[in-house]
Symmetry: C2
């Protein structure tokens, strides 16, 4: 039984006062994320939680009134996972942004979920520490969002993903109870690893209201940056696979295909690259950075690349800025559906062949960047947005057909649908293809243990039409 | 409804023939693990599975007849988690020991669960690769057992635990269905991370019949080994915390207290150490090994240690052998209850104070070693074994009282009950103290989703009297 919308808002406001925002502008904002897609309809209210108790209050009211809750951080998601729509409460944790504790001696920090990844790392740098997960959105995305999506980034092959960098989370369940999951210790195997289960669970198990993060010391020594230009993307992909196979471990290895490179050069007013040219950008760090860069340069040259090495940190940042400008460059071309398939690293060249085939067969250009060091690709499908029902942006059917073709190719190559962006709404209809019926149903049942009423982020992840 | 024991054995034998072993000697062996403790009663049979299909057959028969199944690897557990007793089927995976695939280019391997950790690493070394988890039992423990317990070891602070080194597992559910969990890719966030949930789940969620492992390149360069002797254990613990706080990252940092050191020296016929003396043994590796060893030596000397450095790999192995001889040295002293608490690294000195207090107050000597690099301690409670009901070894009440005192001290210091051995039967009564009632119940419910009939390793982990 759903209470009338007005009643729910009144209950929220009675307990949370001004933290309940019902202005149209704020509710409109909560409908969308950085995927460019928006929920149908508009949420009841946006609650700006300022404490764990606030979150518990929202969940208790939501449970009592059977009202769906969509938890949000900074709204930088790329799968629509935090988009709130008709009849839903948007629960924003962005104001819960305190760094509660830093322990250099134990290499851990305790944070609230709304702290920006970039702000956290700025604060940690003072202690000669960092939190390794570095999604491209790090300047604008929250740690809580990074945890909810199991975010990756550029440094994952060498420094790991979010799953490798979280010791514990505090979780508010759908009924408002608070659980402390995980440990403050490096090792800990007491019972089931619910911390890992929450990482990447996209808001369907509970609300992450705090996290104990595993930190690293800042890496001392030189940073070397290499760029290598190749005549075509397949050669570049083969070169990146050769670097991995050589045993070298760059901190970063990014690949941009010709269309991606051209778009970014255009955005940044750089010289136009040669037609068809693709580029690898790599960084090495740590005590062997210089020697490793030299060895990698040799592999890249043997693979047909034109290589430049810089030993200057700032020059390196400028070179990487080209890669980091990908998202704004794509936004200038139209509405984008940013895909996120991941394949074993040896399959990168074959995956680029598949992308070329999909381009040919579907008559599209699909500018693609890849975190080549870990096999994660971001093909960008670009289209003219046609507003759908209630103003929601809808991906045209011919784009979904091409994306479907691409997903199935990645799965055939031993890959996965989403490496780091999550399932959200945009990929839920393929989830069962990857998991299989039995695992899909098991996962749904596990989620139901945490949220028996199904009020946490309904319509996301597991809500596909079967 | 439980079928008669004879019927269950007949059903197993009809499908699995000679792989069903009902000899008394084999069933006796399946009652116990390396903890020195044994289940009450004797299992119905030991099934030596040779394939995934064999495991599925056992589970189907077990489900149909409501017969409990206890999965075993090499029986090297230290918490009684794989001990099979009255009315149970012991399902041994030891014969499923093939290395199915090694991909140096993708840094992964696919294995059956019964392969020994040491055998796997010997096979990987040919490819210049290794699987980092290195429990002290690595020569005799299986990869499947390492996964089931979420094993740790000596190298965890630098190279991670099992959770960091598994990409996917194949799991047979209680009803015999086979699920493929996880990925072959570095990144992957499709749905809930059930792979991590299975790691450390001690046989209560399903039977791990295969695993895709994340590998590392063998670390090139020198290995430096340091030993540092301190007048007492607290000074040694303070020194280890100072090493971590200094920003150095040794690959190994092991601490032995006076009683542990004396027992091992006695076993190995080495010169008797000075009364009260405690020792740290450290290794550095990688391109900066020599410089790091020199910096660490300085920290250790400042902290009051007498330091020796060796740059010889074989000499280093000899020095570490002293640490590795701990378990046999303890076995000579009597029956041991090996504890496994873990605390934040800065709390190591305080934890040693607590151990000294427990020794005083309970009139015991508790020889202790610690993986000081990650804060994991193994206090050894030694006693004269008194056989209990049906020949089961029972820990005397006064030992449990002292252990209880120790556990609570670890929890007060922000620590955990078990860093790497698991809960099994020996620690199940404290599980709820660490998890709290709400999380304990939630974990039980999650387990029930996987195993609705409760036939997987019943009586372990969650079976504590409340």
């Amino acid at each position: 039984m759903t209470a009338a919308a007005a009643d729910v808002v009144a209950l929220l406001r009675a307990d949370l006062g001004e933290r309940v925002d019902t202005t149209l502008a704020e509710r409109e904002r909560a409908r969308a994320d950085k995927s460019g897609h928006a929920a149908a309809g508009i949420p009841l209210a946006v609650v700006h939680a300022e404490s764990v108790a606030d979150v518990q209050t929202v969940l208790r009211i939501a449970s009592a009134t059977r009202t769906p809750v969509v938890t949000r951080g900074a709204g930088t998601g790329l799968a629509g996972g935090a988009n709130a729509g008709e009849g839903e409460i948007a629960l924003s944790l962005r104001r819960m942004d305190r760094l509660l504790e830093v322990r250099p001696d134990d290499l851990l920090a305790v944070v609230e979920p709304g702290i920006l990844n970039g702000d956290l790392n700025a604060a940690l740098a003072v202690h000669d520490l960092w939190w390794a997960p570095d999604p491209a959105s790090r300047a604008i995305s929250t740690v809580g969002g990074n945890i909810a999506t199991g975010a990756g980034g550029l440094l994952c092959a060498k420094y790991g993903v979010v799953r490798d960098a979280v010791l514990g989370v505090d979780l508010v369940l759908a009924d408002g109870r608070l659980l402390h999951l995980g440990h403050r210790t490096v090792k800990g195997v007491t019972g089931l690893d619910l911390t890992s289960l929450v990482i990447g669970s996209e808001g369907v198990l509970g609300v992450v209201v705090g996290a104990t993060l595993k930190l690293r010391r800042l890496v001392a020594g030189e940073v070397c940056t290499l760029t290598a230009v190749f005549p075509d993307v397949r050669t570049a992909a083969r070169a990146s696979a050769a670097v991995t196979a050589s045993g070298a471990q760059p901190a970063i290895m990014e690949l941009m295909d010709a269309a991606a490179l051209a778009a970014v050069h255009d955005l940044l007013s750089l010289a136009r690259p040669a037609p068809g040219a693709a580029q690898l950008t790599l960084q090495t760090d740590g005590p062997a950075a210089v020697a490793e860069a030299a060895a990698i340069a040799e592999v890249l040259r043997t693979a047909g690349g034109t290589v430049a090495i810089s030993h200057d940190r700032e020059e390196g940042e400028r070179l990487l800025a080209i890669r980091r400008a990908m998202h704004p460059a794509m936004e200038r071309l139209g509405t984008t559906l940013i895909e996120d398939v991941s394949v074993p690293r040896s399959a990168l060249p074959a995956m680029f062949d598949e992308i070329a085939r999909v381009e040919r067969e579907h008559g599209l250009t699909i500018p693609t960047v890849a975190h080549a060091g870990d096999g994660n690709l971001h093909p960008n499908f670009i289209f003219d947005a046609a507003p759908g029902a209630a103003g929601a942006v809808e991906v045209p059917p011919h784009i979904w057909e091409a994306a479907d073709d691409l997903f199935r190719a990645a799965l055939r190559l031993g890959g996965t649908l989403t490496g780091e962006h999550g399932v959200g709404v945009l990929k839920r209809r393929w989830l069962v293809d990857e998991l299989g019926d039995d695992q899909w149903e098991l996962q749904r049942q596990v989620a139901r243990v945490f949220d028996p009423l199904g009020i946490l982020n309904p319509g996301k992840v597991f809500a596909a039409p079967r």
